[in-house]
Symmetry: C3
Subunit: 208 residues, 3 copies
């Protein structure tokens, strides 16, 4: 059974992940020369559009990113902080950002997979929608910047999210305890992502 304190913990973690992804989106907006509207849009996109696409596709309308004002507010707060602290924000140290980002990726992928699975889609779709929850916002952000999304050509990022998502689907099918399944999936995503950054891994391309 999912206990209330656990649910509250998940919600706080969700807000924290939203804040962190939004922070990155706003920073990227500044570097791209966008104005405050662009910062708000990129913060929202990066943090919330992955889950929004998932909710549209499973028919959970309106999406939670629309229904719960705390999510959008958190994203906009992150953009406002980047705006207020300006060039200081651009000098944030990389290492903690990468570590926190990997944690947020794992969290989003796991939570997205569990939600999609609960909506009754098949296992492959649940894992794909979990991955979309983690990486979809960044893809739309890059499309708004007229750039080929980073995850399509370099780094192990979507792959880490998908690995965690697959583990969650397997765990759910085996009816293992939810907390255990979530922890295992998130950890696998987190570890693969950090190992990939640390070792400079990337997927082998087809020679052309």
């Amino acid at each position: 059974m999912v206990t209330t304190p656990l649910l509250r913990l998940v919600f706080v973690a969700d807000l924290a992940g939203t804040f962190l992804f939004a922070l990155q989106g706003a920073l990227i907006a500044v570097r791209a020369g966008l104005d405050p509207v662009g910062m708000l849009v990129l913060a929202f996109s990066t943090a919330l559009v992955g889950g929004l696409i998932r909710d549209v596709l499973i028919g959970a309308l309106p999406p939670v990113a629309i229904k719960d004002w705390r999510l959008a507010s958190t994203a906009f707060l992150a953009a406002a902080l980047v705006y207020l602290f300006g060039s200081h924000a651009l000098r944030l140290p990389m290492l903690p950002i990468i570590v926190l980002d990997a944690a947020a990726l794992g969290l989003f992928a796991v939570a997205g997979t569990i939600k999609a699975h609960g909506a009754g889609v098949n296992g492959l779709a649940a894992a794909l929608l979990g991955t979309v929850t983690g990486v979809g916002g960044g893809v739309v952000r890059d499309m708004l910047l007229a750039r080929v999304p980073l995850i399509l050509h370099s780094e192990i990022y979507a792959t880490a999210a998908f690995a965690g998502a697959v583990l969650v689907v397997i765990g759910l099918r085996l009816r293992l305890p939810l907390a255990l399944v979530a922890l295992a999936g998130g950890t696998v995503c987190f570890v693969i992502r950090l190992l990939a950054v640390w070792q400079g891994w990337s997927l082998p391309k087809v020679p052309y």
Copy 2:
């Protein structure tokens, strides 16, 4: 109470706004070197995709842009006129276009906010979805052209729509008469937009 003549007026205004936005989309398609298919797609996108996204997100499916054939037909008619009048259309005077565009923006933002609010989403979401109704089509049009959407980096445009949308939400919450609320919201959007163009305002960016 909303009277039938008022509803009819709103519908006519909606068609007029659709026509004007579609005209702009088709003109931008010509300037970008697109063919007639591109003109139709950009006319449809500019005029109708903002409302279409709003309808998807509030679960009003199929979206009104799909359900009511008069909307798509109006957009395609605008594209056809641009095609027929070719280079003449490209020399349309700027000033009336800017004024009419500001009016259509106000209309779309207000109507979108009222519809989203009526679907039961929270106030922040209603204002955001109203803004999306006004500016979302232009964003998708710019994405189709592989350009960074104009509203993300310059001009006061989404800001004007959002200001009008917020006023509408406040008015609806205070249970003020709908016609008054709509008029006030649309006027605020219209005036802010025109003042911004006239004075060359733009939002202050974060120095980088």
Copy 3:
């Protein structure tokens, strides 16, 4: 009446079309320098996102591309084959690909129109959604590559799909036998597309 063997035939044809479109998406991903994740995403987009957009807009959620794991699996299989056969895959002969692509376009446009019409939208919307089923995936693929979608500026492609879709709508309205209507619509799309490639037709642009 639709017989079961006919339905099975349609399903097999659908999988074949999915496979072919996915193959093209994966090849384009390789040429664009994407990694395996990009190949999977472009294969899925090209083959399945058109129908996915249709399903979202008619409210058939989750979309069949999510609900039926065989569709996504077929798209990923095509990407895997391109990956395994690498540079050989890039030297596939053009002619059969163009012919098969035209056949798949007709199939998708016809099947999409019939499904949208069955969902109760008006005739114009059904034809547009059928066209989106055929060409929408390629549009999103091009947007992911930060390119202006090919169908917006050259070739007779969406036009062929729309012509076939319109014929299907007319046939359905006249209550002609479904198999006949589908065959006629698909053939018209197929023939127009091949004639256009063969003769180098394109739509006349507005001179600028």
